[in-house]
């Protein structure tokens, strides 16, 4: 039961990539940008949810109080939210629940990750710990390996090809060229993708998102506070949160994430919208196959038909159904627990027209789809520009 409407009144994000800043520094920078862009007095924030999944990479748990101390509001509560790669949208939802539920008039959500200090094998292992490790990691599956297995099943069921997946990478790299905060600013070709080294067949290096550092944040407030602040009115129209069986063998069908379908349905029902009413999407393309599966789970495409839409250019920023105009996780980067809030940041930029013309979608309603692991956790968020 939603008690009252809530709005995104400010957002912030660091550059994504390999950053010198520590966890608390990145988180604090993004939080301050969000607070300053909203114009809210920092003392009016009742607390924060801080998304962080791999803090141990920097030998730091319990990051919340560090961030609040750096923000000068150490007396305000901050709890860490962890739902693997869906941590960011999950923290956003918990902050939303605080405001919509009437407990707070303004709340902060921050997502932050720093993994660049890890070598490839260690980072690969840390990411795999978000799987059902006894039944997947101990059977040798890396995180790319699990999505590669999904890709293999999708190829067998629908005839999806490696070229189809490469088209996703090429599009998202092209979009990231015009996103100043993106990890990669490098255009690539289909041939580049197909010639890159295998990570886990059929997925190659350019099918995979990078390990990124970065942070993103949002301030959520009541309608009254939003109107008082006088900025753009960005309403949180719908927010869904669901799950899927953690391990692939526990699923009836591994070509789809059942939790994504549920979360999207919840968000659309709350907003009173159909998927056709959404103008543009930010989806969780941790691997190229994941963007195709996301499009099919959300209902942007029928099952097995997403690849054709990508190939036909329909998901480019100026296409009929723009997907990942930010560059997506694939090229914008994937600072794990920051990603969901980075999607919120991107939606607000698009809804307020503050993006480069090359990747402008003119969207007034957007949906983000943020996935933890292979769908064990999923969150879908709909934002709407009201003025």
């Amino acid at each position: 039961m939603v008690m009252r409407d809530a709005y995104v009144v400010g957002v912030g994000a660091t550059q994504y990539g390999k950053l010198a800043a520590s966890l608390r520094e990145s988180a604090s920078q993004a939080a301050l940008e969000a607070i300053d862009s909203s114009g809210i007095d920092i003392d009016r924030l009742d607390g924060a949810f801080i998304a962080n999944a791999l803090g141990m990479a920097e030998k730091q748990g319990h990051i919340g109080p560090l961030v609040m101390t750096s923000l000068g509001i150490a007396d305000k509560p901050a709890s860490t939210i962890e739902a693997a790669c869906a941590s960011g949208a999950s923290a956003f939802r918990e902050a939303y629940v605080n405001v919509a539920g009437g407990f707070s008039d303004a709340y902060l959500a921050v997502g932050v990750e720093k993994v660049s200090g890890l070598d490839t094998i260690t980072a690969t292992s840390y990411f795999a710990y978000a799987s059902d490790f006894v039944y997947e990691g101990f059977c040798g599956a890396s995180f790319p390996g699990l999505y590669a297995t999904i890709a293999r099943a999708h190829m067998a069921k629908y005839g999806t090809t490696v070229e189809d997946m490469a088209h996703v990478a090429v599009k998202n790299h092209a979009n990231a060229m015009y996103n100043p905060k993106a990890h990669f600013h490098k255009e690539i070709s289909i041939e580049d993708v197909l010639k890159s080294m295998y990570v886990a067949s059929p997925l190659k290096l350019y099918d995979a998102c990078p390990f990124s550092d970065g942070a993103a944040a949002a301030v959520i407030a009541t309608k009254e506070v939003a109107e008082e602040l006088g900025g753009p009115m960005i309403k949180i129209s719908g927010i869904g949160r669901a799950g899927s069986p953690a391990a692939l063998p526990d699923r009836n069908d591994i070509t789809s994430l059942s939790g994504a379908k549920l979360a999207a349905r919840q968000a659309l029902d709350q907003a009173g919208l159909n998927i056709g009413d959404i103008d543009a999407f930010e989806v969780h393309d941790c691997f190229t196959i994941a963007e195709l599966v996301a499009m099919e789970d959300l209902g942007i495409a029928e099952a097995g038909k997403a690849a054709a839409m990508v190939r036909d250019g329909m998901t480019k920023p100026d296409g009929e159904r723009p997907v990942n105009a930010s560059g997506g996780l694939k090229a914008k980067g994937h600072p794990v627990a920051a990603t969901g809030l980075g999607q919120v940041y991107e939606m607000v930029q698009q809804l307020t027209g503050k993006v480069d013309a090359h990747r402008k979608t003119d969207a007034k309603r957007m949906m983000a789809h943020n996935v933890g692991a292979t769908g064990g956790s999923v969150a879908c968020t709909i934002l709407e520009a009201m003025n």
Partner: protein, 122 residues
């Protein structure tokens, strides 16, 4: 009988015997721990020995691995549909090319010192 533990399942698998948790109400089987059946919500959970053979439903050849498998690359991570229809995850050593293990390949559980379920081509 007490609910099977993961340690028991792992030790049995090392000897080549694969067990699943089984709902005594509806017969649903799960290779991962089940305290409540997701189908009928029964808490009457037993165990059942699974067939040791099945076919590859989906797979990947791992080129970059996690720490526990760095000396095993390349190998295949697999989702296997056992002969009774139960899905199980596992790995198949010494698979270097996709063509070495096409979908539908028959595999058999083998005993191993490693904690995961190891299969070999049958």
């Amino acid at each position: 009988m007490a609910l099977m533990t993961q340690v028991e399942q792992r030790d049995l698998a090392k000897d080549g015997d694969l067990y699943a948790w089984k709902c005594e109400g509806c017969g649903h089987k799960s290779i991962t721990p089940m305290f409540v059946c997701p189908v009928d919500k029964s808490r009457d959970i037993g165990r059942e020995k699974l067939p040791s053979t099945g076919v590859v439903e989906a797979f990947t050849v791992q080129r970059i691995s996690i720490e526990e498998f760095i000396n095993d690359v390349p190998f295949a991570f697999v989702v296997v549909k056992l002969d009774d229809g139960t899905n199980v995850s596992g790995w198949v050593p010494d698979i270097a090319r996709d063509s070495d293990l096409p979908i539908g390949s028959k595999v058999r559980l083998e005993s191993t010192y490693k904690p995961g379920f190891m299969f070999e081509k049958a």
